[in-house]
Amino acid sequence: MLSLTFKNLWARKWRSMMTAVAVIFGIALVAGTYILTDTTNQAFDQIFNESLAGTDVVVTAKSEVDQQDGSTPAFPAKILKKVDQVDGVKVAAGSIFTQGAILDDKGDSVGGGFAPQFIASTGPRVFEAVTYPQGHPPTSAHEATLDEAAADRADLKLGDTIELVGTRKAVPFRLVGLTQLGGSSFGGSSIAQVELPVAQKITGKEGEYDQISIAADSGVSPEELRDRVSEVVPKGLRVETAQENADRNASEIRDSLQFLTIALLAFAAIALFVGSFVIFNVFSITVAQRTREFGMLRTLGASRRQILSTVMIEGLIIGLVGSLLGLLVGYGLAAGLSAVLKAVGAELPANSLQVLPRTIIVSLLIGVGVTLVSSLIPAFRSTRVPPIAALSENLEVGGKNRVVVRTVIAVLLGLLGLALVATALIGGKDGGSGAAQIGAGAVCVLIAISIFAPKLVSPAARIIGAPLERFGGLTGRLARENAQRNPSRTAVTAAALMIGLALIAFVTIFASGLSSSVNKVIEDQLPGEIILQGQGGILPFPAGAVTVVQKVDGVEAASGVRYVSAKVDGKTASISSVDPADIVKVYTVEWEEGSDSDLTGLTDGQIVIGNKLADSLDVGVGDKVTLTSQKGQKFPFQVSAIMKTDSIALAGEGIISQSSMARDFNQKSDAVGLVKLDTGADLDQTQTAIEDALKKQDFPTVDVLNQGELKDQQKSQINGLLAMIYVLLALAVIVSLVGIVVTLILSIYERTRELGMLRAVGMSRRQVKRMVRYEAVITAVIGAVSGLIVGVIFAFLIGIPLSGDGFNLSYPIGTLILILILTAVAGVIAAIYPARKAAKLDVLEAVSYE
């Protein structure tokens, strides 16, 4: 019996391969995700280990509140003296390693993409992990080195000028050396090194260090030395062995990649979910077509269990083959993706791709599991074939249409799904578990719809087929009848497509809503025409820039906004500070309780708090809250007013005074500058004047945007993300298109005799092809329309609770119609091969086919 299974699979190898495609894509994404993240993690492990080559113990400051830019606080340099005196310390040195900007001689950033740039200090040779393929370390305050990869990207040579920007104006340096860290690159990030005092000055950390590196006397273990050093340093500092430090840094990277991993795996799950529909369909059709064979096997004495196991083993093997191929494709995907990342300048640290046993095991388990579960129902159906089926010519198995049972199951599942989604949304569960619950709910709803779908196929096919019948005549009519003939088959095929399209419609609507909501906020809340931001919108820019802009002709007011992440009564929130003098001219706050005078009159120790945060902390005006800084210091604040939190969160979730921000939270750089022009000032002219003034005053990292540009920038960020999601969802759509191809081919095989008859009575090849194509289009359009409807409904439902936050859905009708047309075209493409196969059938053979 087992060899029979293999022979059957081999005889149907083409079909089996197509079925395997249903899991290949999903598994490829699973494997690719793991390989990519493992490779990245492993590379960072190596970077951190190599960068601590000569170091035994590391002293850094603890970060009580994680900052959005990932920075850690600096600590007083005088601690080094205490460390030096510890018994067993051979060498100890302080260093700086801070995010900044590195520009080439033309003022352009040397970095590519979003990879960060660092300004670092050089130190004693023993701690220096870098080598110098060219040049030497800086020997004066006017010299700097740059990592080789960044120099290559920016086309910089020794002797060229580079500019470094920290918390002050840009400072020029002569490039005297190119660096390399061990065998690996810096993972796309750029690192410039200067002498320690210079680094401290640029980064605004005079008299401070980011880190103290310690080498131990021989005979003293790192652990021993760590314990001794811990006794002399203040409590806010962290003392670790080099190994511990490398491990912690690596695990932080790991955590930050976690989100990406989960997101990618979620798309893999979608592709696999769609694939399970395809597998279910192929197995259902195959089982139906083999009814006579199963009946015959039963008459020969095969037990139900034997029939079940032949089908299940087929599933097992297809799942196994699909998973293995998926692994291979995943490997290719990871290789391709890292090449792409390299091309856009965010290259992964150079390393061979990591394929861990976990990747292989998980891929195989998931692939085989999905295939088996999807083939379970058809497999059980095959056991219901009675032996007498061997004797009958036509016999529908499982023909009992338990309409009531189906409807009840569909309705219950649908309600359960909606309840899951609703409770997740209303319950306000945070991130992971909430998203998982919404996902589970969506899966329930989608399955419910597809159980119910066969009922809808006939009317849907009639409507969608109507124009085809009008133009295509008989072929259109037959195509429509064929689509209706086996409603559950068409329904499952269309449902697979529906899932992908529902998600596409959902994200399209959501993104468009996000864009228009952001635009609305920009229009409503930023009366200023010009916005200043750090390069690429990521890094803060030096405080002096706003002062420069204030003096430009045509500028009425310019106001900088600073941010810091702090804990407000234990809850992490983004807190901003503004310049009270001009803020109300450039920023419109919507008040829940309070007025603009609360903002202009904001004093140290007062905080204006966002309504959401106020609600979750249950505080009102006059109440006291405690803010905890990154260094762990606690400061009491009194709530002076409550504002509405807007969707671009320009003011964060709380506003404090500029001086509190500088003194208590050590933030002296602006992240955003809001500029209002004099009435009558020319926008273009003034914008150019501001740009020139900033360049001339050595603030090259400040981007000057007008409102239109800001909107475009926001929109292109949203669209960039949307494009990525489209690509990932395309995998699921491709899987469902493969489903259309397989289903059509199997149906044609079933209708061989009928097609022969049609050809015998005069149907041309061209007509046969057209008929098959129309059927594909009908199926695809049913899937697309239902997907779009489901997507719109979901977006609408999820948009309801968000509307309070100023988020308004907008429906991009044009885009949705375009998606519908593209899907119909995809249906035609999916039909190419089946149509050709159908047209090629030999008339005589088809008629005498047994």
Partner: protein
Amino acid sequence: MESTLAAPSESQSSASPIVRATGLERVYGEGQAEVRALDGVDVEFEKGRFTSIMGPSGSGKSTLMHILAGLDKPTAGTVEIDGQDITGLDDGELTQLRRDKLGFVFQFFNLLPVLTAEENILLPLSIARKKPDREWVDQVIDRVGLTDRRDHRPSELSGGQQQRVAVARALVTKPAVLFADEPTGNLDSKASEDVLKMLRAAVDETGQTVIMVTHEPDAAAHGDRLIALRDGKLVHDAPPVSADNVIELLKTLG
């Protein structure tokens, strides 16, 4: 061969019945749409004999065979095979019964296209996980004249050859009863003759019991005994004399 085997059934020969059906009724549908496919049939089949079942379409001949073979359940009455009442058996017990005691030959051959002729023949044994008796298998294959075709796929065989594979497949387990459902319905006369001779030989040479449903007088004439049904009732039970004789009989049945 021996005259005893050709003895008329009404003589109540000493040979023991291998299949015994008592008071068989089979009703399909209800009320207005009620169809009595079998309406009180009592019949016995003795070991080592070749019985043909005939009757016009709708007479109940196929239903009778399905019930005798345990493929369908009677509305009333019992069927015993080799002394075992099969009417109350569950699916597992019926499966075991098929493995041990029943063989089938179908009108549409029902071979697996992915297996060779020999693999098709051995299929019932591999399903039951029994070791084939090589000598017997070779003998069966030889008897159906497929020794030089044993590695061919069904698609490489003629209709007659395919049906001979099916006969060999039914014989290979030495079933207590071999049921044949219109085994020549899809064959030309030469191939039909071959298949019928093989069934005849199995009865004569190895004492195989064969029950065959057919509507072809020529086929029926190969049997030891001919029973005929009409409207669900047994209306004729005698040894066939000749094909012409059978045709006459069919005419009287209408």
